[in-house]
Amino acid sequence: MTTRIDTRFAALKAADRAALVTFLMAGDPDFDTSLAVLRALPGAGADVIEIGMPFTDPMADGAAIQAAGLRALAGGQNMQRTLALVRALRAGDARTPVVLMGYYNPIYVYGVARFLADARDAGVDGLIVVDLPPEEDAELCLPALAAGLNFIRLAAPTTDARRLPKVLTNTSGFVYYVSVAGVTGSAAPDTGAVAAAVARIKAATALPVAVGFGVRTPEQAAAIARCADAVVVGSALVEALHARGGGDAKDPARAVTAVSDLVARLAGGVRGARTRAPST
């Protein structure tokens, strides 16, 4: 089964460039602002859109994304509205892959079968669920694959060679390499170590490898884009949204501009990363 994610990565491989994957929290700080910001992402240079499903207890997230989730919940966001957000986004964009990212409990409570049906119907292409390691594949991973959604697994610096095959089994769409042992928004990754890890993963799978956690600037994104198939940026975008437009004085237009500007600069870094000086 080919998804929008597979199609997008195949096209980018042909163009010899990495993807920019952007993360924002659904409903941060409210539904309308969130939708406006998301709609502007593809035009600004995002190749894949990750949307966070807010949760009260995000144990793998740093301060920025924790706060974004609580803002969204305070603004009335819930699973139904997150799926409605994807549906609204999808109505104006048939091609950009959309990945929902979050924690298992809100999905479990919504009901796994109902969630998968509604997510597919809304136009979701893949899922990243932080607290579902391969040991718990029967919960959501296998039903998601059966429903035609990609299940994108995280690999970490602690995932050793003996464990890696277990992590790659039942992973689809792409592999998300967590560049640092830490929470989202933590210190910048060491590019050399990331390149070695990406090479190790690529030796074991044909899937594209995305790298995230700690990537904030166009320069960092460019450095990662030289070795990986995709660069994920989350906390920096969440902070940009909140600082300029999504904060206490909500201003959707300013939020769109703030996020789009940063996405455009990150996309510039990613797209320029592999271009060489023309040979004479």
Binding site: F55, N105, Y108, D131, L132, E135, R153, T158
Partner: protein, 405 residues
């Protein structure tokens, strides 16, 4: 899912960490290799007689075990029914059962070569026990505590600091125990090479619910031997309070296969189960996934975790250990609940009738003993786990009674 109950209720969990539909390992991939390494280390330690010998030596000479099984004569006369015994785990070093588990985990950490220990704490009892054992063995200790709890439990914060621990107030989320646990998990994920996470209750990803239960089972094992010595037979009923449920699991587990023994767990009903301000996960919650395991949780219809409330900070957690969730579904353990007001009343009665100031946590168990004991015959032997002493709670109780200290 509808498998018949096993012949023995003491063999769980299965090799994947499940007690029926509860438990499991719901953690981020970064932590998964650490959780597996802990499981291996624990299996090796259990097979090593030297581990048990060292643990028993510290339990005897440092913790002060065995704790007495005490016939509460005046309380029994007051109730006019069952013979009530208190298992006096409040007499342990640091004043609660928490140290039984911390000792075991710290010895595991030492075997694994980990020199930095992190812990979460609500009321501060688990934090104090962890700080104590870290001082004893010269280990670095960081305790995460919700900013609200830091304010509510100043004496325990100071105790931890005196013992050399660093107490880090958690300002994210609701700033209480569940957020302290989130922050400890974030620390662990960021310091994977050096750090051992010492969880304070029978919750978390497998193997924590199992190893914490095993370390606390000394309570029930001693109770069996002591009751046989005192009365020539086993007790007829057991009663213990439940937050996460470690003191209760420790008392209950050695008796689960003695089918004639009635077992009661007592949750905190806070201001009452009809409103939102309680901590009774089984009575008022439903199954979900938090902090590495599936169990009963307090949450809203969207799966967002609710804030628990109890007068007792030690019961103030929106979940419960997965083995309790399983025992509740099976009906082997009956889960009751006691309100803040009932616990306060039992607290005062215990002080005046027995000369024992109990912690507010076991005061919840006592509140139900006061209802259960009068309905039992005089030859009925009832054991209540008096799992902590009340010195830490005198400020809270004084406030509720309108006294100024």
């Amino acid at each position: 899912m509808n498998a018949p109950p096993p012949n023995s209720l003491r063999t769980g969990p299965d090799e994947r960490g499940w007690f029926g539909d509860y438990g499991g390992r719901f953690v981020a991939e970064t932590l998964m290799p650490l959780v597996l390494a802990l499981e291996d280390a624990y299996r090796a330690a259990r097979a090593d007689p030297a581990f048990a010998a060292e643990m028993n030596s510290y339990l005897t000479h440092y913790v002060g075990r065995p704790s007495p099984l005490y016939f509460a004569e005046r309380m029994s006369a007051h109730c006019g029914g069952a013979k009530i015994y208190f298992k006096r785990d409040e007499l342990n070093h640091t004043g609660a059962h928490k140290i039984n588990n911390v000792l075991g985990q710290i010895m595991l950490a030492r075997r694994m070569g980990k020199r930095r220990i992190i812990a979460e704490t609500g009321a501060g009892q688990h934090g104090v026990a962890t700080a104590t054992m870290c001082a004893r063995f010269g280990l670095d200790c960081v305790v995460y505590m919700g900013a609200v709890d830091v304010e509510r439990q100043k004496p325990n914060v100071f105790r931890m600091q005196m013992l050399g621990a660093q107490v880090r107030p958690v300002t994210g989320g609701a700033r209480t125990l569940k957020d302290a646990m989130n922050e400890a998990l974030r620390d662990w994920v960021s310091n994977v090479d050096t750090t051992f996470y010492c969880i304070g209750t029978v919750a978390g990803p497998h193997p924590y619910p199992t190893l914490v239960r095993d370390f606390q089972s000394v309570i029930g094992e001693e109770t069996r031997a002591q009751m046989l010595a005192a009365e020539g037979r086993l007790p007829d009923s057991l009663v213990a309070c439940i937050g996460g449920g470690s003191n209760a699991m420790g008392l209950f587990h050695p008796f689960l296969d003695d089918k004639d023994i009635e077992i009661f767990g007592v949750e905190a009903a806070g201001e009452g189960l009809d409103g939102p301000r309680h901590a009774a996960s089984i009575a008022g919650g439903r199954p979900g996934i938090l902090h590495g395991n599936r169990t009963y949780l307090l949450m809203d219809d969207d799966g967002q975790i609710a804030e628990a409330h109890s007068i007792s900070a030690g019961l103030d957690y929106p979940g419960i250990g997965p083995e309790h969730a399983w025992l509740a579904d099976l009906g082997r353990v009956t889960y009751l609940s006691a309100t803040d007001a009932q616990a306060l009343e039992a607290f005062q009665l215990c002080c005046r009738l027995e000369g024992i100031i109990p912690a507010l946590e076991p005061a919840h168990a006592l509140a139900k003993v006061l209802e259960l004991a009068p309905r039992r015959p005089p030859d009925h032997l009832m054991v209540m786990n008096l799992c902590g002493r009340g010195d830490k709670d005198i400020f809270t109780v004084a406030e509720h009674l309108g006294s100024r200290l």
